[in-house]
Amino acid sequence: MGEKLTIDSTLRCDVLVIGAGGAGLRAAAHIAEQRPGTKIIALTKVVSPQKSHTTTAQGGMAAVDPKDPEDRPIFHIFDTWKGSDCSADQNVIKKICDMGWEEVVWLERHGMHFSRTEEKRIAKRPFGGHMLNFGETKAFRACYEASRTGKGIMDTVWNESLKYGVAFIGQCIATEILLKDGICIGAVIFRFPEGKFMAILAKATIVATGGNTRMYQVSSNCRGNTGDGLAIALHAGLPVMDLEAVQFHPTGIVGPGILASEALRGEGAILRNKDEEPFMERYAPTAKDLAPRDLISRAIVQEMRQGRGLFHEGHNAPHVWLDLRHLPKEVHEKKIQEVCSFFKRFVGVDPEKDLCPVTPTAHYQMGGIPTNEFGEVQSDTQQAIVPGLFACGELAAASLHGLNRLGTNSLLELITMGKVTGERAVEYLKDAKDPEAPPPEAGHIVFDQFSTYLNAQGKEKYAQIRDTLRNLMMDKVGIFRTEKSLLEAIESLRELKEKAMHITVGMTSLRANQDLWQIWELNNLITVSMVIAQGALARKESRGAHFREDYPTRSNEFNYHTLVFMPEFDKIILGKRPIDTSIFEAKGEHYELFDYIKREY
């Protein structure tokens, strides 16, 4: 290795946004609107914020119009609490559900192209788990833009940020959160095109790097969703919360793992096993194919385990069938055409004539960096905050979802919490001082990492470790978990971490070195995988998306959020954060529904 690793330049700004997706740029847009002249820098791994993972969201954004004659925010609040399997925070649920509609209106007034009703209003559709009258009947609550709601949202917040002069830096990774005397003063970043390190000093830093499920063999996440934000937070000594709560969407398209939306089953699609039996009837006699995501995912894996799954030779992967053949031609042509085109395009089957191969796909991280209801990052079990550091979106856990998320609540969360975080940052900027200089040790974390990768002389292969990790996480820390599987996984993760130190990098140039970049990402994935496995091991119960075969029911003993600190790899410190039950405790109308109720559909 020829080049010495150094920080080449230092930039200064008022607000640094790490991760320019839906949440990060909603925060940026709010700050730019409310505090003209604020210098904001927004970082993204991709080439433009428009290409963020937010843009792939299909279904909609849940929001109750306060003037709606049928729906009420309290129903939405209840659905979210119940959906979370009583593990979300009630103060956060209430705040977000109450804000939903005004944020939908904000998006629309700033140019989002929502689908429309004949009355020229924003169109709404029903979605799993969203009900009227505390679970009675389905609610029309998901505001949508065709099947590209995420794109509409992403385009809007990107456009607003652009309009107000937010500076975007693309193709970069944040490798370190800079803390000085317990205050966040910015970050160290690495730019892909030039291969240069840069320090960015900021009065306020908002981390919003999104999801992290690329460590699973089948994942609906973007190539770059590798848990970088979580890894740098852990490295900075900060805790992460509830990472064991990984949502598997039951119908990923076999191979690429792309989502085949819940909307298909809404229209009457049926899951079938090898014998073409509609097996959901056995697992959920009433809800059948429209049962919650976690339940269906478990049913599919059970079928596979009992030899009633199939194997896709081209993609070398197990699957079951999704049957759409019986749906009317009109439904195929008008309502589900876009999703069906994925089957045609990516697996070459025609859903009108053929059975479609699907398999559960790792979809969403419910946990994240713990924050309070204002997006301020918490640093310990006493919920002390880190001045100058904020987090929002899928990376953060306030927590709206607890251990299980309802469809369309993620877009709601990233927009509302993005705004709230922006509001808090504006407040914070009033008295915040400019950081003086980067600490002398700034960059050393990434210099050490990169030096290791660039100088490694081993014969380990990146692809082999990546694939081993992805199979390991799928098999042992996936939809079903046991103490045995988790302990085995933890042992294997230790070995993988060691092996990852001995990958021979393809070339040693720093410039546009995809291989080096991916090895850094792989290390983050192993780090986050370890925390997921440790959190899952400690939670000896089944709740929401976390299912332990050796502890198959929910237990009041675990009515708390899991906190995990891992300042160094494998140095695990566990902690707890209480679940906020302020609605129940206030003893207002319907308070009894906000107890630790049973989750039945």
Partner: protein
């Protein structure tokens, strides 16, 4: 099931450190249902970890993986091996980077620079109309939306701009021009004069030579040239 194909990819390589360019051929055994992004990953995994290529969502929703295959700009995440064999009637493919921005390495181009053109077109509402008197959202009928909704599906993959015969010099390019036209058609935009200035500028819509190659290559099946034609005619 699907029989494996033996294909050859002849790929443009570029090393930014030495500034050397060359063409490198890789022979790959691949199942017919693999996408070109999978094939590129396979080359990284089995033959050459140094080959650089770009992608993100890998299901045609983000537009990061545009490349030129046998002369046609397309998304590498959408092209299945067996379809490529059929469509181009060959087992040998020439892969080149998009021509719309400087090459960073191999197939990776600096799309950040290409995005400057989109920024120039001001894709946001420059001056939104006052909120509607009934409150809440603007009222827009499905019929009004229907006229321009197709153009809102653009993901700025720059396949059209690469295919366009005029976009390399003084033309903002089909996608950026269309972004401006969408807002001209959007009833919520009031800054129509400013938009007309962008539309009719030196880099504007009249640089378009109506080859319609934009519509031909668009991965989202947007009839881009139709919207450009509306722009030229001033029919918003």
């Amino acid at each position: 099931m699907s029989k494996p194909y033996t294909i050859t990819l002849a790929i443009n390589r570029y090393d930014p450190d030495t500034k050397l360019s060359w063409i490198q051929a890789y022979q790959v055994e691949a199942s017919g249902i693999l996408r070109f992004v999978d094939v590129l990953r396979k080359i990284n995994d089995e033959q050459d970890p140094t080959l650089a290529w770009a992608s993100s969502c890998e299901h045609a929703q983000c537009g990061s993986c545009g490349i030129i295959v046998n002369g046609k700009p397309l998304l590498a995440c959408e092209l299945l091996v067996r379809e490529a064999v059929q469509q181009f009637n060959t087992h040998t493919f020439r892969l080149r980077p998009l021509t719309i921005a400087p090459v960073l390495r191999d197939l990776v181009v600096d799309l950040e620079k290409a995005y400057d053109r989109v920024h120039e077109a001001k894709p946001y509402l420059i001056k939104p109309a006052p909120p509607c008197p009934e409150g809440d959202e603007y009222r827009i009928s499905p019929e009004t939306l229907e006229v321009y909704v197709e153009a809102t599906q653009c993901i700025n993959c720059f396949c059209c701009a690469t295919a366009c015969i005029s976009s390399h010099h003084h033309f903002l390019g089909p996608n950026a021009t269309m972004a401006n036209i969408v807002r001209l058609m959007d009833p919520r935009e009031t800054a129509k004069d400013e938009r007309m200035d962008i539309l009719c500028s030196e880099d504007g819509v009249y640089r378009c030579h109506t080859s319609k190659s934009c519509s031909f290559v668009c991965p989202k099946d947007i009839d881009v040239s139709h919207f450009l034609a509306l722009g030229k005619e001033g029919r918003f």
